[in-house]
């Protein structure tokens, strides 16, 4: 990161020229601002950052940044990112996902990413709906939310991403609101700097399919308590909160998973010896 120290990067340096296709009013615009702001704050060179995603409105972010990006397939961003980070520990790796991409089809990789604790930052824009496919319920959708696919609601208990993250071993857990780009950026800076797997859930309204979420700005509030490093306590706290508690909720101390790479102890030819009789 010597490059980064030499140059002072501005927020604009992390934005690409590609114009978002998001609906005007979408919370994801704010998230884009928060991410670029956080990167500028940290000062890592744009080319040393990789932003990885799956499929969804939220997953469109990589191309809107001026970093290296990968817009992969639906639900697999965490695995792709883990491969990248393990192979290239020098990079700063962010993963940008949605509640469908991350918690429905991508749920298993979420569990295992938390457990594996590779040093990267997972940002999920939770709008409690599948925006990209025109408004179906996601795992975080309220049980009574009416839609064409689930008339009258799914009747299912919403998925609790923060608790799952804690239960499966994430090393940093936070919730923010897209409508507070400064607050979100601050948390992202901390998340990126925190070693190991950091998970930040950003409540990010979908104005098109969930216009009711415009109300979120009146519902969010800062977590009334200090972050803890006791996962069990943090989990219990979140399991009983109202879902609109913002802030850093957990900071863990587990060492990140990072096998040594790039340092050969033997020549390729030496490996052959085992076969020779």
């Amino acid at each position: 990161m010597s490059k980064a120290q030499a140059v002072a990067y501005k927020q604009g340096d992390y934005k690409s020229k590609v114009k978002p296709i998001w609906c005007p009013g979408c919370g994801d615009y704010h998230v884009l601002i928060s991410i670029t702001r956080a990167l500028a704050e940290i000062g890592v060179a744009p080319e040393d950052v990789a932003v990885i995603s799956g499929i969804g409105c939220s997953s469109r972010i990589p191309a809107y940044t001026n970093c290296y990006g990968f817009h992969g397939v639906h639900g697999r961003s965490l695995a792709l990112a883990a491969g990248l980070k393990v192979a290239r520990p020098d990079l700063t790796v962010l993963i940008t996902s949605g509640d469908g991409d991350g918690f429905s089809i991508g749920g298993n990789h979420f569990l295992h990413a938390c457990r594996r604790n590779v040093d990267m930052t997972y940002i999920v824009m939770d709008n409690r709906v599948y925006g990209m496919t025109k408004g179906q319920p996601s795992p975080t959708t309220e049980p009574d939310w009416d839609s064409a696919l689930s008339p009258g609601g799914t009747g299912l208990r919403p998925f609790h991403p923060l608790v799952i993250a804690l239960a499966s071993g994430a090393n940093f857990v936070a919730r923010t609101f897209s409508g507070d780009p400064n607050g979100t950026a601050r948390v992202l800076v901390e998340a990126i700097r925190h070693p190991g797997f950091s998970f930040v859930e950003i409540l990010s309204p979908c104005v098109t399919f969930r216009p009711d979420e415009k109300e979120w700005k009146n519902m969010v509030h800062t977590a009334p308590v200090e972050p803890t490093d006791d996962a069990a306590r943090a989990a219990r706290r979140i399991m009983t909160d109202d879902g609109f508690n913002l802030g850093v909720l957990y900071r863990g101390h587990r060492a990140p998973y990072q096998p040594e790479i790039g340092t050969a102890s033997v020549d390729v030819a030496d490996l052959e010896e085992a076969f020779l009789l």
Binding site: Q11, Y29, I33, E41, G179, P181, N182, R186, V207, F209
Partner: protein, 170 residues
């Protein structure tokens, strides 16, 4: 918020306010371009241009003061965003100039409030004088926007009524 203690700090913040306003208006213009609202695209580009000029004015003032290089997180805003940045959550692709000007108005008012509170709480006379200057400038902007708004009646309730359904690009 108002723990800005010297001129340099104040200038840095004033400049940042305008810069972010420019970026924000440009972003909005882009959104309108992508969503085929050319009237608003033009309007937002114009607003961006004006804020840009304002930023330029401040920048010239910065040359002789000792202005710190602040990182994004080092700016001390009271709200969730810099005061003159339009809230992106309030945007709609079918919005009319009336709406855009309402947003601009709110932004200018917030900027005014920022400097206004500042000038009232500042003790250093130099800072007070500068804050005063900025506040007045914002006040002028507020007046300008209000004047512009007179040209546009408030649109009907169904202004955002899009008969066509959303589509699914992926």
């Amino acid at each position: 918020m108002t723990n800005l203690t010297n001129i340099g700090d104040l200038l840095a913040h004033a400049y940042q306010i305008e810069i972010e306003a420019v970026e924000r208006y440009q972003m909005l213009a882009d959104q309108m371009e992508v969503h085929n609202n050319s009237e608003l695209e033009k309007l937002f580009r114009k607003l961006a241009y004006h804020e840009g000029q304002h930023a330029e004015e401040i920048r010239t003032q910065m040359t002789d003061a000792n202005v710190p290089e602040l990182k994004p997180g080092e700016f001390r805003w009271a709200g969730p965003d810099s005061p003159e940045a339009v809230d992106l959550g309030d945007i709609h692709y079918m919005m009319t100039p009336w709406h855009a000007l309402q947003l601009a108005l709110k932004a200018e008012q917030q900027a005014f409030a920022f400097f206004d509170e500042f000038r009232r709480s500042a003790s250093d006379p130099d800072i007070k004088r500068l804050a005063d200057e900025f506040a007045e400038e914002e006040e002028e902007h507020v007046a300008m926007v209000l004047k512009e708004l007179e040209k546009y009646p408030e649109p009907d309730d169904d202004w955002d009524d899009d008969p066509d359904p959303p589509v699914s690009p992926e």
